[in-house]
Symmetry: C2
Subunit: 522 residues, 2 copies
Amino acid sequence: MTEKDTLTDAITAQGDAVRKLKSAAKPDKAKINEEVQKLLALKEKLKQLQLADGSEPVAAGGAKTPVTPVAEPGNRNLSLKTAKGTRDYGPEAMALRQRVLDQVVRVFRKHGAETIDTPVFELKEVLTGKYGEDSKLIYDLKDQGGEILALRYDLTVPFARYVGMGNVFNIKRYHIAKVYRRDNPQITRGRYREFYQCDFDIAGTYDPMLPDAECVKVVAEILTELEVGDFVVKLNHRKLLDGMFEACGVPADKFRTACSSVDKLDKTPWEEVRREMIDEKGLSDETVDRIGEYVTLNGGSELVERLAKDEQLSRIKSAMEGLEDMRLLLQYCDILQVADRISFDLSLARGLDYYTGVIYEAVLKGADDGDEITVGSVAGGGRYDNLVGMFNPKRKQVPCVGVSIGVERIFSILEAKATSKTRTNETEVYVVSAHKGLHLKRLEILNKLWSAGIKAEHSYKLNPKLLVQLQHCEEYQIPYAIVLGDGELARGVVKLREIVSRKEEEVPLDALAEEIRKRLPA
Amino acid sequence: MTEKDTLTDAITAQGDAVRKLKSAAKPDKAKINEEVQKLLALKEKLKQLQLADGSEPVAAGGAKTPVTPVAEPGNRNLSLKTAKGTRDYGPEAMALRQRVLDQVVRVFRKHGAETIDTPVFELKEVLTGKYGEDSKLIYDLKDQGGEILALRYDLTVPFARYVGMGNVFNIKRYHIAKVYRRDNPQITRGRYREFYQCDFDIAGTYDPMLPDAECVKVVAEILTELEVGDFVVKLNHRKLLDGMFEACGVPADKFRTACSSVDKLDKTPWEEVRREMIDEKGLSDETVDRIGEYVTLNGGSELVERLAKDEQLSRIKSAMEGLEDMRLLLQYCDILQVADRISFDLSLARGLDYYTGVIYEAVLKGADDGDEITVGSVAGGGRYDNLVGMFNPKRKQVPCVGVSIGVERIFSILEAKATSKTRTNETEVYVVSAHKGLHLKRLEILNKLWSAGIKAEHSYKLNPKLLVQLQHCEEYQIPYAIVLGDGELARGVVKLREIVSRKEEEVPLDALAEEIRKRLPA
């Protein structure tokens, strides 16, 4: 099946989903909107593919009538879409995202982190030369007669600029913000051009592996709390990788390029990576085969001891330094009770050039009964001791280590897992008119509730139907309604209705806020 | 005093402030960084002024040595700054901002709002033609061979696009996000090119003034809770304004341009506005003088009744419709107990073209003993019933009303008011070594605390000095320390120290988390 076929099927399925939602007895506008967004994104993706291969753009989703009039051309001069690779987030998506981000922040804060913020764009030169080949994915701003600017590509480089430029010598900070990459969006896999990163970094001159081990702990805590499924945090060390390359006969100027090849091992079979190193990178068969023996290795402390005795590696200083770090890191991870979550893995390389020590990557294990099929990276990071100096006027270095949580993948996983509708508001009570002519009374009561700190709403119609008001409560999962009627009001009481059970009881008007508060969860 | 003089003075003062911070016994790096940012922004502003008027860029801040090496040229090839009109926010600024935004969100949520998010950039055509002359302030993205994009200028137009494009027929949403304007930054007045907006809008077809009154209530609640000082919410109505112009003899095609002139009355004396309307807008002396009589009027319900009897206005349908709305709005505001916060003010016009009904603007009153000098707008909004239709494929309109809280001004005011250092972390306990060789024990205890949900930290040094660790607690306002020592550990206890009082007591190791939790505020 080609990518186009997959997409066409996805569009048909999504179209059906939207139609189903629209035909519901009580259509959920926000949900429909969200699903339409996804549909539009899929269609856009298909259009791009068709444009790319020159095929005629055909109507996707079969011969059915268009799901949304948005796609109808002719009756408007404005394209009704968000920019390529971006989407709107409706109330339900936002409620889930907010819940996840709150959990992530709670862990960051449990480890003492402060937060900072940096501008969404930087001087272009700040970003130049930091991302290797990926620099072509940077969004540039138009030169409108001022500075040359670009949207941030990650949060690490702005953090290093902040630390270096501000002469900060130690900080433990988290930063949750969106970053921008002109990548080929893969909407079906939840990959967008605008997406959140959640970074936690420790900058400062400290003793080896103490901050590094805490980063592993933070990742493990977050992934455990979010219940995204079984995962493993792969660990390796740039110095060990370099030492291994040296031991295998890779010339020093090819360490980084060899590293990029090894980095592909999570998605590409060894045979292919092997050929790339020989044919494209110009390494000898013998060298590459020796690399091949190392990169299949993974384990725990026993692997550290085995490598320490390795005849070739033990002659190389940087390899032994890297191993010493790994020994310490594994000891600390043991004490922090994350030993069962980690794997010292010589095939882990990480793409970015700026890492100088320990590197991490957390991957989810597939759910296929015991098969350890990894379904992708959900966090990554490492030590970068030489980045801050680039941004310090006196070139003073501040060593850093950090992790970035791939929260967008986590959103997608949890969105797919969600079985019930996420609540999107926090309203505690809805003030309902039982009959006409009560809107002023509603306002009076609402005002009292708001003053008492109760979250309260009502219909913005003068004389809404009773049933419509109660249906609103059910649709928005509002737990209580106060039903006003002349009879009760004359006696100084109102009906307090619990929406789920439909139980009603009378409560005195002058103790309304307290009566409601009593019934709310503390 | 010229603007340059003011700036030069501000730079000198700011330079002194930075030097003072740097010379403190325990320099606060984050604070210094923030103040240096402000200094650099001031210098940049001065440079722009000097470049603009051709004067020689002279060293600002007197003959003293440069405050920060960042300004030293020569020893680097990278400019160390954030983009013009933007700044970094360090931990302290962020703590204040977070607290304010939390309070704003709490009010939005109390009124039942959900939240949505839209991309930071839009197709340029979405923004075109929405902001009148201010369109020149839009940040464009570079054409990198795809769509023509621009950064969002406000949150209202993206909201209208979301509602229209998604066929949403009713939603009450808030959106807190940054917007971008290539304005002349006025750093001294807290005006940046990247800044937050906090918008609350109600979209849907409802009965007159019920949503509009709730918007006034929301603004009043937020400004009251934030304790920014005394304020007034000015109210007016576009239909009444148009009716007034008609009554005074302004031709219909000049209503909007007359409106822009009137809009200047909060900053410009009537005589100047009068001349503009006559000389530039081509209105007759008589017409303008009649306008002049109306725009000095402000008050409450009595003004509504007076205008209803006005001979000229009462002949004009739209004026009477506007007045009817105002009558209802004032009645509702009365019930919602915000009557003392509002002023029906015929000089309020609001710049944006898209308003169609009630318009609002909240201004802070000056603190100068009773003098009602307004120190600027902190919230604004109004009804815009014809914007969503532009983004709906069938041109279907969804009436909207909303307010935007000018939270950046509020940040500045509260920052200036702040007397004590804002806490930037939430750490509850710091795990301290009393002597060498205890780092593994620290990790073990930290792990237990984290598992129990206690927010805990330690030094990332193997053998930190006791005094340094306790000073860290004071500096970061951490309430408790656990002090580990071999003697106590042998007895299965540790010392629990309250940092402020310096009181210490022994607690058993195996009840550590509970003992700490007992002492923390619930």
